[in-house]
Amino acid sequence: MTTGSTLEAVGRPLDRVDGAAKVTGSGRYAAEFTPPGTAYAALVGARTASGRIIGINTGAAEDADGVLAVLTHRNLPKVAAPPHLLPSLAGHAAPGESFFPMQDEVVHYFGEPVAMVIADSYERAQFAARQVHVDYARDASVTTLDEGRDQAYEPEAIFAGFLPARSVRGDIKAGFAAAAQRLDATYHFAANHHHPIEPSATTAVWDGDRLTLYDATQGIVASQRTVAALLGIPPSKVRVRASFVGGGFGCKAMIWPHVTLAAMAARWVRRPVKLALTREQMATSCGHREEQEQRIELGATDDGRLTALRHHKLSLTSPFDEWAEPSLSIAAQAYACPHYEGVYRLIRGNTMTPTFTRGPGETTGMFALECTMDELAHRIGVDPVQLRLRNHAHADPNTGHPWSSDGAQECYQRGAARFDWQSRNPEPRSERDGNWLIGKGMATAGYPVFFPMQPQRARARLYADGSAVVQAGTQEFGTGAATAMTQVAADGLGVPLHQVRFEYGDTDLPNVAATVGSAGAGMISAAVHTAVTALRDQLIAQAVLDPASPLHGVDPAAVVVSQGRMELRDDSGTGETYRQLMERHFMTDMDALGSWSPPAPDVPYGLATFGAQFAEVAVDQDLGLVRVRRMVGVFAPGRVLNAKTARSQAMGGMLWGIGQALLEGAVTDTRDGRWANAGLGEYLLPVNADAPDVAIEFVEVPDPVVNPLGVKGLGEVGMVGAAAAIANAVFHATGYRARELPIRIEHLL
C-alpha cells in the first residue's frame, strides 16, 4: 500500500477525462485517421465453411473504377512465420488463431478472407469486392455441436495449452456417495458475438521500412508484436496508436488477420491503407463465444452442503486451435466443495477460433452452476442466499490458500438487504401484477484475478510549474482507465487532478500488456503508481539532501506530499513545494520510469473477485415475454479507483447479463456455415427500453497481495451471475427452469 501520499482523488466519481471528446466527436478512432493519399481495403469472405478455391476471377474487380489492387492467395505475400495463438495478457504476439488467411486455396470457415480489394475510396473498394467471383469445391462441414457430436474428444489442454482439460480434487465418487441430494442438469448456450459499437478497423501507414498502425485494439503492444511477427520485421519498426477505441468486449483482445492484412495492403499499393470491417464481417473476423453445452452434477447433504461437483463442458472449436473459454474456472472455486471433477471436451468444427467474450467462461460456467444451486435450494427448502453463505469457500478450494481478499459474504448480505430479498415468498408463481408473473432470483458473481507475465511500465514527468504528464502504453476502450489513471497519478505524486495529464495509446510509451481478463485497472494502476511514487521519492530525496530545503536532513519516510508540496507528516508547516525545489536548482522538469513486477504465478493466495447478483423479472406467460424490472449487484473488487466509472462498468456487465439471458444468440445456417444473424437488427442486444433500474454497491476489501493499490478489477465480474439471477427469477415467476440460453418466447409459451 502507498506511503507518503494520501488518497484524495482515487475513488472519487470523477467525470471521464475523455468524455467531452467522445460526445463532441473530436475523439478520433482508428478508421478516422486519413493521411494524404489514403486508400481503402475491403475484404471478400469465403462463401463456404469448408472446401477449396478452384477458381477465382478478379478481372471485373480489377477493372472497376478506382481499384488499385486485388490480392488473393495467389499474390498476397506469405507471412514470415505461421501464427501461434497466445493470450494477449502474456504480452507477446497474440494472434487470435493459429491461422493466417490467403496463404493457400483451402477454406476453413465461412467468411474467412479469400480476397482483398484496395481502391481509392471506401465505396469503390466495397463495390469492387462484390465483383470478385470465387468458385469452390465444397466439402462437408461441421458448424454446430449437433453436427459434430460423434467427433467429440478430450484434449490434453485448452486455452493455448495454459489450462489442463481435466482437473480433479478429492474423490468425486466418494463425494457423490456421501450425497443425500443429487442434481444433474445440462445447459445449452448459443454462440455469442461481441458487437462493440465501433467495428474493428486499422489504418496502416508505411514510412520507408517503418510502419505506423492506427488500430482499434485492446492491446496496442499485442497489435505491434503480432504484426511484426507476421511480417517478419522488428517490433521496433512498428508503432501502434489507439487514442480512442469504441468498445471491445474481447473481440479486440487478440489480434486478428485484418490488422496485418491492412499493413500488407499498404505495402503493396505504397499508400496508407484503411481497412474497416463491416458490421456483418465482425461476426467472422474476430472470434466469438463458442456454442457450448455444460453438464453440472451436484451432490449435497440435506442441509445443502456440497459434497461433489462434476462440471463437464462440450464446445466447438476451430480446425487450428484447441480453444474453449475457461468456463470451469471460477465455478470450481466459488464453493467449498471437497470433491470435484471438471472436464473440457471439444469438437473441431468449421468456425474461426473462438475467443474471449465478455466474462469469457465465467459467465457461462457460473450460469450453469448457479442455476443448479438454485434448483438445490428450491428442492431442499433452503433460502438461496443462505445456501450460498453456507457453501462459501473461505479459502481457495483448489489450493487451500487463503483468499488475498474476499468480501463475498458481505456482498450477499448487502445485496439481499438492498433488494429486500427477505420479503420474497419462496414459492414459485406466488406473485402477480396484472398479466405479469413476478419472480426474484439471485446468483453468485465471481471472476479470477489475472496477472500479466512481465513487468508493467509507466513514466511520470513533473514540470517545474507543478504540472505533470504520466504516460503508459495502454489504451482506453471505454473502461474509464484514462480517468482512473489520472486520479492514481495525482495522488501518488501529490498534485491536484487538474495538473495531471495521462497519455496513452502509443507503443512508443512504456510497455503495458493488453487490457484483458479484467486485469487492466490493477496492472496499469500498479505501473502508474510505481512511476509517480518513484518520481515523488526522487524529489523528496533531493530535498532531504539539499541544505537549502526546509526538509534537509529529515527522514524521507516522514515526508508526505499533497497539493504539490512536500511536508513533514507530523508538522505540515515544515516543507516546500516541488516548484520551489526545482526552481532553486534551475530544473525545468524531472521524470521517472516505474516498473511493477506482478506477483509470481505461485503466490500462496487464492485470487478472485466475488459479488452477488439479484434480479426481479416480470413474465407474461401467455405471450412468452420476460422483462427485467430491477437488478442489484454488489461486488468486492478490492479498491475502487473511480466510483462513477466503476459503477458504469458494473452496470454494463449486468445489462450484458440481460443479453445473455434473454436475447443474444448467434445462429448458424448449417448449409454453408454462415451466421444468419450477423447484423444488429437481427443479433439482439438489450436496448435502453430493456434496461431496468440497476443498483450497484461495492464492498471495498483491502488487498495487500495483488498490486500496490489493491485493485482486483471490475471489468467482467458485473456480468457473471447476472444471467443466472435472471433465469432463477424466471423460475421463481413461472416454475420454468431454463436449460437453454437465450431464454426465448418459444420456451415459455
Binding site: 405471450l623 412468452g624 445462429v667 448449409r671 444473424n677 437481427e682 427500453a689 418466447i745
Partner: protein
C-alpha cells in the same frame, strides 16, 4: 456501393416523369431501408430521385372524421398528430412501436408502405432468393426462419412483411393514393400488398414510376378505442414476432363491429377476415376470442423454427381482443 446519380425532384409530375422515363431509377424518401439495401448491394438503382422536398407532408383532418396523411409525413409526426392519437390510437401506437426514435424521425409514411422484407437471405445478395432474383430459390424454407411468416406463404417465399403501421392501416381500410404519368388512382391498402405466390418479386400493384402521394384513412368511430399490441423479444427496436391491431364495437356485450389485422406472421399486413366473421354478432368472451384466433390461424403453415408463432399469434389475438373490451369499459 455502386456509383449512383442523384436528382432532387421539385414537383410531383417531375418526380413521376423522372422515374417513369428511367427504368433503372428509384424514388428516395427517408431512405431508412433503401440506403441500407444500396450498401448491401441488394437494391441496384442507377439513379435516385429524391422526393423529400415534394409538398406531400401534410396531415389533414377531413370533415367526415377521416384523415388524409401525406406520403412524406414522417412516422414520428403522424404518431403524435392529434387527429391520429384521438381517432386512431391503433395507428399511433403501431407507429410508436416501430423502429427507433431516430428512424421514425426520418422514415416517411409512403416509404413505410414500400419497405422491404427483413429476411436475412433477401438481404444477403449471394444467397438464393426468389424475391431478389426470381427463380433462384428460397433459402429460408430450409434455412434460418424463426421470424418468417406462417400465413400467406408460398413455396417461393416465406418472408414476413415487416411493417407495423401497415397492419393498422389494413385494419382501418385505408386507401393508398398514387400518381403516375397517366394520372392518379386509389388502391385499397389490403390490395396494395400482394401475396408472394409464384411472383414474390412483385410486392405491390404499382407500375414503375407511380408514386404514393397520400394515405386516406376513412372515418371509423369504433377506432377511437382501438389498440395495437406488438410482441417481440426485446422491448424496442425490433420487428414483431406477432402483433394485432384491434377495434371493437360492442352492444350489450355483443360484438357489433370488429376490425382485426395481424402483423409479424404473414407475408403481407394480414386482415383477419376469418376471425372477424367468427366474432361478428357473437358475445365478446374468451371462448369466442379463442375460436376466432383459431379460425384465423387454421391455414397457418409452419416450419421448425417458427412453429411457435401460430400459438403466439393466437394468444396475441386473444389478448388484444380482451384488452380492447377492457378499453371500452364493458368487461
Amino acid at each position: 456501393m455502386r456509383a449512383i446519380s442523384y436528382t432532387r425532384a421539385t414537383d410531383v409530375p417531375g418526380a413521376v416523369a423522372a422515374v417513369t422515363n428511367d427504368p433503372g431509377s428509384s424514388f428516395l424518401a427517408g431512405g431508412t431501408t433503401e440506403v441500407d439495401l444500396l450498401r448491401l448491394d441488394v437494391l441496384r438503382p442507377n439513379r435516385l430521385v429524391d422526393i423529400n422536398r415534394l409538398p406531400l407532408a401534410d396531415i389533414e383532418d377531413r370533415a367526415d372524421g377521416g384523415l388524409v396523411i401525406g406520403a412524406l409525413a414522417r412516422m414520428s409526426e403522424v404518431a403524435q398528430a392529434p387527429g391520429v392519437v384521438e381517432r386512431y390510437p391503433m395507428l399511433s401506437q403501431s407507429l410508436l412501436l416501430g423502429a427507433s426514435a431516430q428512424l421514425r424521425h426520418m422514415a416517411s409514411m409512403g416509404g413505410n408502405l414500400m419497405q422491404r422484407v427483413r429476411c436475412s437471405y433477401y438481404r444477403d445478395p449471394e444467397s438464393a432468393c426468389n424475391k431478389r432474383v426470381p427463380g433462384s430459390g428460397c433459402s429460408a424454407l430450409e434455412g434460418v426462419h424463426r421470424g418468417h411468416a406462417i400465413l400467406g406463404t408460398s413455396e417461393h417465399c416465406i418472408a414476413t412483411h415487416p411493417s407495423d403501421m401497415a397492419v393498422a392501416l389494413v385494419a382501418l381500410d385505408a386507401v393508398v393514393q398514387v400518381e403516375g404519368v397517366k394520372g392518379t388512382r386509389t388502391i385499397p391498402v389490403d390490395d396494395f400488398f400482394l401475396l408472394p405466390d409464384d411472383t414474390p418479386e412483385r410486392e405491390h400493384p404499382l407500375t414503375p414510376g407511380e408514386l404514393i402521394t397520400a394515405i386516406e384513412v376513412p372515418p371509423l368511430p369504433m377506432a377511437r378505442r382501438s389498440l395495437y399490441l406488438k410482441v417481440r423479444d426485446r422491448e424496442s427496436y425490433e420487428f414483431a414476432l406477432a402483433s394485432a391491431a384491434v377495434a371493437l364495437a360492442l352492444e350489450d356485450g355483443v360484438i357489433r363491429g370488429v376490425r382485426l389485422a395481424l402483423g409479424g406472421v404473414a407475408t403481407k399486413p394480414w386482415r383477419a377476415h376469418r376471425a372477424e366473421e367468427t366474432l361478428l354478432g357473437q358475445p365478446a368472451d374468451e371462448d369466442m376470442f379463442a375460436r376466432a384466433a383459431a379460425a384465423e390461424l387454421a391455414p397457418a403453415v409452419t416450419r421448425p423454427m417458427n412453429a411457435f408463432k401460430a400459438e403466439l399469434a393466437r394468444r396475441t389475438v386473444v389478448r388484444a381482443l380482451r384488452t380492447a373490451v377492457a378499453l371500452r369499459g364493458e368487461t
